[in-house]
Amino acid sequence: MTRPLPAWPARLLHAAVADPMVAATISGDLHEEYLERHPRWWRDLAFTAACLAVAARYLPASLASAIRVDVVHAARSIARARTFAIASIGALALGIGTAATVLTIAYASLLRPLPLDRSEQLVRWGQTPIANPVGINSTAIANFLDMEARTTAFAGLAASQLSRVNVTSDAGAESVLMAIVTPNYLDVLGVRPLLGRGFVASDAEPGAPPVAIITDAVWRRTFGAAADIVGRTIRVDASPRVVVGVVASNLGVPGDPSLWAPFQWDAAARQTRDRRNIEPIGRLREGISFDAGRQELQALFADLAAAYPAVNGKSTIAAMSYRDFALGGSSPGRGLMPLIASAAGVLLLIAYLNVANLTIGRREARRHEHALRQVLGASAWRQFVHRMAEASLVVVPAAMLAMLMAFWAVPAIVSRFGDAIPRATTIAPGLVTAVVVALASLVAALVTAIAGGRLRSRWVTPAMLGRRTSTGAFRTRRRLVAVQVGLAAGLVYGAVLLGATLAALVRTDLGVPIEGALTFAVGLSDRYSDPSRVRGYFDELSSRIAQLPRVTAVGATSRTPFSGGTNGEASAADDPARVEPIAEYRTVMPHLFEALGLRIVEGRGYAGVPLSAARQIIVSEALARKLFPGGPAVGRRVRLGSDADIYEVLGVVSDLRDFGPTRPSRPAIYLRHGSEPGFASARAMVFVVRAGGVLDALVPDIRRIVRDLDADVAVERVATLEELATRSLGSSRRAATTVVVSLAAIALALGVIGVFGVVADGVERRTREIGVRLAIGDTPSGIVRLFLNDGIRLAIAGAVLGAGVAWFVDGLVRSVVVQTAAPGAIATIAMALAILGASTLIASALPARRAGRLEPVQALREE
C-alpha cells in the first residue's frame, strides 16, 4: 500500500480556503498528482510546497502581497549573493546535520530508556576479588541459590549463562546466541511474552521436557512468522526443544540472545560452589535504594565467605545498575560518546560563527541599500520582516539539507560502526533528529537575524551610504574568525592525538604475518561426549581442508586470535620460585604454528609427534625466558596451575601479541588438543587456514566439507586474520577516530574559509594603502608578506584561543586512547600547529597574491 501523504500541509490548506468542500477537492487534486510519485521524501516535499503555494493564494490579499514582496525581494537579493547563500547554507547544513546525526545516535544508544519495566530497579551483580575489586564477574550456583533464599531487599534474583548454539531449520544450521536462564529471569526483567508463555518453575526441573523461547527476530527470520510456532519442536544443537513462547528482541541484554532456555540444575549442580559460571541480576523491591540492595548482597555474601572460606574467602560482591551494564558498562564506546558529542557541538558553533561572519560581511556590503531603504521610509518592523525573510531563505534550505544528511548518515554510521554502538540495531533517524534540526535551525535564524542587525543609528550619515566596510564590523569579523580558527585548532589537536595513536597501533607488529590466513569457528554439540570422537572429527576436518588447492597449512586453537583468552598459573617444576601467575593457556592442533606463522625457536612443534600419554607442552619464548632464564627450555619441566600436573617442554615458539596491539604479548602455553587433561579436548575450536590467493573463495568449500561431515554443525565467525587484527584495535576506537578526524577536517575547512574571507576583505579595504606603498617604493613581495602576516596573526590568535579548547579535548581524548601508543603533548601540539599554520597560510596566500599584483596607479584611483 502507498504510504499516505503528510497531513499538516492539507490541514493548512483547509484553514486558508474558506469553503471546506472546495478545500477538500483541491487537496484531492494534489493527492492525485503526488500520491504515486517517487522517491517518497521528494514526493512529500513537493506536495507540501504545492499545498503552501495554493494556500498562499487564498490568504487575504493585503497580507499575501506584503509577504510576497518580502519573500520575493529576499529571494532576489539572496539569488544575487549566490556565493554568500551557498557558503551559509552549506556551513549551516554541515553543522546542523552533524549535530543531528550525533545526537540521534547518542540518544538512541545511550539515553533512550531500556524497553524494560521500571529498569531503574534492575541491578547486575556478581563476585569480585577483594584484593582487586574491578569489574563484575559471575557467581557459583550454590552461592546464588543461598542468596536468593535469604534476600529481602530484592523482589527477585535471577541468573543467566550465554552460549552459542546451532539451530537447525529447513534452511540449514544457524549459529545463534542462547541465554540459559533461571525460569524467573524474564519476569525479573519485566518482560512479557508476545506469544505463548514465559518459563515456569517446572520447566527448570531436571528431566522436564526441554523448552525454549525464541525472539521476535528469529521467529520472523528463521520461521517466517509462522502462526503455529508455539508448540513446534526445533532442533538446538541437534536435540529437540519445544517452543513455548516468543519475546521481543533487543531487550537490552548484552549480545541480544536470539534464544532463551531454562537451566535444569540437578542436585549436584545446586551444590556447586567452586565454579563461577552464572551471571546474576536482581530487581530491587519498591522503595529500596541501589546502595541498600548492594549492601545487603555484600552482607549475605560475607556469611557465605565465612561458611565456605576455601572457595569464597577471597571474594566480595560488586554491583552496577542494569542500565549501565546493558549499555556496555565502562566500555570505551561509552567514554567516546561525550568526545564525539563535544566535537559535534564545537562544529555547530563554528558553523554559527561562520554564518554570523558571512552575514556581517553581507550586511556591510549592503549598508548602502539598507540606508536607502531607511531614507525612503521603511519602518523598523518592515526591515525586521525583510531580515527574517532573508534569514529563513538561508536557514530553511540548510535545515532540509541537514535533515537529508542525518537520514543518510545515521544508517551509514550504524552499518559501518554498529559493533561499537550499544543497541545499534534499533537506531534510526526520527523524532529526535527532527527536534534537533528544528532547534538548531531556530538558533541559526536568530544568529543570522542578529548578525544582520538593525542599523545602529536612526540617522543616515553620508558615511553609511559609502561602499567600504566599516572598521567596527571588520574588527568583529576578525574576532569571529579568530574564534573559529581557535575552535577548529582544538578539534585538530584531538584528531591528531586520536589519529596518531591509531596509526601507531596499526603499525604494531603482532608477531605473525596477518595476511593470507582465514579463520572460522566450529562448535560440536554435546552429542560428541567422548573425547576420541571430538578428536576424530577435528582431525578429519583438518585433513580434508588441508587437501583443498592453495591451502598450505591448517591449524586450530581454542581461542580466536588477538581476542584474549583463558589463563592460569605456570611455574618451573624444579624451582617453585620461578612462577608466572598469568600465563595464557591455548589448546591447539599440531599445525597451528605453521598456519598462524609462529616460528619454532627451540626444539620442535607437535607436528609429526604421536599423540601419546607423554605429557609434553610447547611454551612461548616469553614464558621460557621467565621460567628458565639463561638456559635451554626444551626438556625442562613445567607445573601448570597449583595441581601436580607436570609437563615436559617439547619446544619453544615465538611470541604472539594475542591481545591485539593495545597490550603487550603475554607468556603462553600451547597444550595439544586431545591430550590430557580433559579440558584439552575442547569441543569448540577456531581454525586457522593459511592459503594463497583470494581467501574468501575458500569459504564455500569449507562450508561444504563441514556440512558433509555433520549437517548439524555450523561454520561460525568467518574472518581473515587481518580482520581479526583490525578488530583487536577496538571498533569503537576506529569509529571515534574516523568521526573525530572528519569533524576536525570540516571544522578546519570552515575556519580556513573564514580566514580567506577576512584577508580578502582586508586587501579590498587597504587597496589605496597598497597603491601608496607601491608608489613610494615597496615591492610586490613586500605587499604579499604584509597580507600573509595578516593571515598568520589570525592563526596565532586562533592557536592561543585553541590552546584552551585543546586542553579540554586533551582530557577527553586521553581518557579513551591507549596511553602507550599515544604521542606526547608536545608532538601533538607541533603536528596540530603545523596543520593549522599550513592551512591558514594557503588561505591567506590567495588574496595576498592578488594584492601583490595590483597596479599602483589603479590602486590609487580607488575612491
Binding site: M21, V22, T25, G28, H31, E32, L35, A50, R57, Y58
Partner: protein, 109 residues
C-alpha cells in the same frame, strides 16, 4: 450590455480550455491543457482563484464526483463546465475583439 460581461485574457483562456476538454473538465487535465496550449506552466493557485472568480460571476459551474477517490486519498473532485451565461460572455468578448481586429491585418501581419 453590463460592464462585467467583458472577460479578462486569463479568464478567456480558462473558459476556452474548459470547452475544449468537454466532459473531462477536471482541474488536472485543465491545467495540463492550458500549459500545453500557452506553452508555459500555469500556477495552481492562480488557476484555482480564476475558477473561483468565474464561478462567482456565474460563468462556470461544477459537480462533485467520487469516482477516483482511491487515487485521491479518499477525496472528491470537481467537474467543471461552462454555463450558458459563460458562453454568452465568451461570444461578447469575441465580438468585441473581432470588431477591434478588423482592418488591422496589414499593421499586425
Amino acid at each position: 450590455m453590463p460592464k462585467a460581461a467583458f472577460l479578462g485574457e486569463w479568464e478567456q483562456l480558462v473558459l476556452l480550455a474548459l470547452l475544449h476538454l468537454g466532459a473531462d473538465g477536471y482541474v488536472l487535465p485543465l491545467r495540463a491543457e492550458l500549459s500545453a496550449r500557452i506553452g508555459r506552466s500555469v500556477s495552481r493557485g492562480a488557476l484555482y482563484r480564476t475558477l473561483d472568480r468565474l464561478e462567482g460571476k456565474g460563468y462556470v459551474g461544477w459537480k462533485l464526483q467520487d469516482d477516483r477517490a482511491e487515487a485521491r486519498g479518499g477525496l472528491p473532485r470537481r467537474r467543471f463546465r461552462v454555463t450558458p451565461k459563460g458562453i454568452k460572455a465568451l461570444r461578447a468578448s469575441r465580438r468585441a475583439l473581432t470588431d477591434l481586429w478588423a482592418g488591422l491585418d496589414e499593421v499586425l501581419e
